[in-house]
Every structure is written in C-alpha cells, then in structure tokens.
C-alpha cells in the first residue's frame, strides 16, 4: 500500500474526550479486518480463477475491499496517539489482535466455497453499510456510503453465482451445497455483539448487528431455495474471531500477508 497521496479522510479527527479513541479503534477493527482478510483471500485467486471473467471479478472485489480497509486504517492511524501508519495496522499486528469473523478466513477450497463465503458475507456487509451510513461518526458514515455502491455489485455477483451453481449441473449443485453446509455454522458470528460493539452503539457510532439477523437469514434462505439448495438446519455455530480467537487457517494467511513487511521492516511500494 503506497501513501503518495495524503489521504486525509477524517472529518472529525478528535473523538469526544469522554469516549476515548481506544473503544472506537477496536470497533473499527471489528468491521475493517473482515474486509482485509476477505480481500487477502480473494487476492490469492489472482490468476487462478476458474475463468478469466470470474478471476477479474474476484480480484476487482478484492481491490474494493482493500480500498475500504485503507480508509478505515488511515482513520485509525489518525485517531491513534502513537506514530502509526495504515501499513503498521495491516501488517504488524499479532493474530490475536485481528478481529475479523471466522467466515472470511475460511480457505478457497473450490469455486463453490469461494462464492458461498462471498455471498454469506456480502448480504451481511451490505446490511451493515446501510446502517453504518447513519453513524454519528462522519468518517465511518462516509466510508459506508462509498462502500454501499461497491458491495451492492459484490452481492449481485455472488448471489447470481450461487443460483447458477445451485441450479446448474449435478456436480455444481453438489459442490455448492457442501460449501453451504460447511460455511453455514460461521454465519451466526456476524451478529454477535461484543462489549466494544455495544459501547459503539451506545455512543451513536456503531450498528446493532444483532438486529440484522432476522432479515439476513430470511434473505439468504430465500436465495438458497431459489437456487434449489437446502437451507441447513444446524443450530451449532462457531465464534471467536471478534475476540481474536481464530481458526487454524489464520496463521497461514498472516504469514503470507506479513512476510514482506517483517522481512524488510518499513518497506513501501
């Protein structure tokens, strides 16, 4: 990530003293880290997509997510009292300090998994951005308003493909159903309200994600049925990501992502 242009995106750089920047920073990480890790996962597919068009689409989406991440991390860097840059935040944290949900770190097993993971996240992501645009924090609101336009395209793409695969050949149906079954237990964590998130809602800057749950499952279930797929009935769900407790995949993602920055500290593009 280069920083040639001074991305001064903050419209209210000083939070009210009563609230402190720490809580706000933690809350922003809960949102931003999802985009970082999913962006990284999609980036892995660059040159490896199942067809040229899908390859380009997935990496375009990766780029959108990284763009959003830069805005969030630059804002955090401004809020921080230490001398921090967006690169420090992206590349130099330890695994436990990443607050992304477990869903986005799941591997690119096959195209069925990639698309299902994307769709499960996109539906949530759009709902979240649609609420976050009303945040009292003007910077978060601006990032969300910009994000809505991009994420709408992502959801169209992933939803479309879930339908095509589900209602496609026997093979594609079987594979995407397996992905749905395997990834479903990671969806509930999207709506978990951490203490940080509760405080952010209290302060008028955060989103009450738990309230998105009903609409989310309604929308996802309808599309799955339209795609002739079965909606899993499992009531067992994984969580931990928002507290920094990740699956075994996370360490590999980070070692890949952080290698250059740790080998050549302070390197820039």
């Amino acid at each position: 990530m280069s920083l040639n242009t001074q991305r001064n995106i903050s419209t209210n750089p000083t939070p009210p003293p009563s609230e402190g920047a720490g809580g706000r920073t933690q809350y922003i990480l809960e949102i931003a880290d999802n985009s970082l890790i999913l962006g990284q996962r999609l980036g892995e597919l660059c040159g490896h997509g199942p067809s040229l068009e899908t390859d380009i689409a997935l990496t375009n989406m990766s780029l959108d997510l990284f763009g959003q991440v830069r805005s969030y991390y630059q804002y955090i860097a401004q809020l921080s009292e230490e001398e921090k840059t967006e690169d420090d935040i992206a590349f130099l944290r330890l695994e436990r300090d990443y607050k992304n949900v477990l869903l986005v770190e799941q591997p690119n097993t096959d195209f069925g998994y990639v698309i299902t993971r994307q769709y499960f996240f996109d539906v949530f992501h759009l709902m979240l951005m649609q609420q976050l645009q009303y945040s009292k924090d003007e910077t978060l609101s601006a990032i969300a308003k910009k994000g809505i336009k991009e994420v709408s395209y992502h959801k169209r793409f992933s939803g479309d493909w879930v339908k095509r695969l589900g209602d496609g050949t026997e093979e594609s149906h079987e594979r995407v159903q397996k992905a749905v079954n395997d990834l479903w237990p990671y969806t509930n964590e999207l709506f978990e309200m951490t203490e940080t998130a509760k405080a952010a809602v209290e302060a008028g800057i955060g989103v009450e994600a738990s309230q998105l749950k009903e609409a989310y499952y309604k929308e996802v279930s309808e599309l799955l049925r339209e795609a002739t797929l079965e909606v899993p009935e499992s009531k067992y769900f994984h969580k931990g990501g928002k507290h920094g407790v990740h699956t075994e995949h996370m360490g590999y993602i980070l070692s890949d992502m952080q290698f250059m920055q740790r080998t050549y500290p302070g390197m820039k593009w």
Binding site: N4, T5, N8, I9, E53, I56, G67, I143, E150, F157
Partner: protein, 167 residues
C-alpha cells in the same frame, strides 16, 4: 445528469485540465469529476481535494502525484487531499468526458435504470462504441478496472468496455 458542486479556482482549472486519468488517458481528471476543490492558500500554495471513483482505485495515488507535478511545472506548490464525501458518482463525468469515452471505445454510463436492465436483465441497452449497434451482450459485470463491465457486440463482434453507472 445532476450538476455536482465543485469549488475550483478558475486560475487553476487549466492546469488541472492538463492532467489525464492514468488508466483512461483521453479523460482529464476534470472530465472524470474527481477534482472536488482547488484553492489557493494564503501562503500561495495550492490545495486540491480529489475523491476516488472506487475505494480501491489504484489510480488515485498516481493522480495525486500527477497533480503535484503539473503544478510544479507551473511554478506552484500543490498539496493533494483525498476526500470521501460526497461519494463520487458517474453523474460527475462531464459531457465532454462522456464523448471522449465513446470515441476511445468505452461505452459511457447509462442512467441507473437502463444500467440495471443491461447488467441484470440482459436487456440490450448498451450501444457498441465501434458500430453504434445496440445488439450487445454482457460478458462480465467486472472488467479491466473496477469501474467497467465487459460487453461484446453481436453485430461487429468486437468486445468492448462499458463504464458502469455508479449513483
């Protein structure tokens, strides 16, 4: 098309008009609508505010550098800031810009309704920039850059980019 409000000092406009978009060089950054403000500060230096087309658009850093270089050539010191609000939309592309896109071989963005019909409903709404036929077909919602979709013309058989509507 809605007229979007920009504050560009007339003295600075010509210099800004000399800066092309790095990925679509027939468009100037003024035509593209990414320059939201350009003012002369008290110390005589220039401050330019630009807004990204897409959050991750890699051209923004290059545009920032190019602006600084263009002003340096004119003997002025410029600083570039990125602003996110109001979010950029394709309505901010000027008429000249739309004409330049078409001439370059990129179909200009349709209005939101027609865009949706073309991208989601497979309706024939996008005009081929080569032969002007509307007998065109969507190949992929995502193209060579984040802002474009891929189409092909069923008459002249040429593939082409369509600049997606973003409102």
């Amino acid at each position: 098309m809605t007229e979007s409000v920009t504050h560009i000092h007339p003295k600075l406009l010509d210099i800004l008009k000399s800066v092309p978009d790095p990925e679509i060089p027939v468009l100037t950054i003024i035509d593209l609508g990414v320059v939201r403000e350009a003012v002369v500060l008290e110390d005589g230096s220039v401050e330019v505010k630009i807004t990204p087309t897409y959050s991750g658009c890699p051209a923004m850093d290059v545009i920032g550098d190019d602006i600084v270089t263009a002003f340096a050539k004119a003997g002025m010191k410029a600083k570039v800031k990125l602003v996110l609000s109001p979010a950029w939309s394709t309505d901010m592309i000027s008429e000249e810009g739309r004409a330049a896109l078409e001439k370059y071989g990129i179909a200009a963005p349709l209005d939101a309704t027609a865009d949706k019909e073309a991208l989601l409903g497979n309706k024939k709404r996008v005009k081929c920039p080569q032969c002007a036929s509307k007998n065109t077909e969507l190949v992929s919602q995502f193209g060579s850059t984040a802002c474009k979709a891929q189409f092909k013309c069923n008459d002249c058989l040429e593939p082409f980019d369509y600049f997606k509507c973003l409102t």
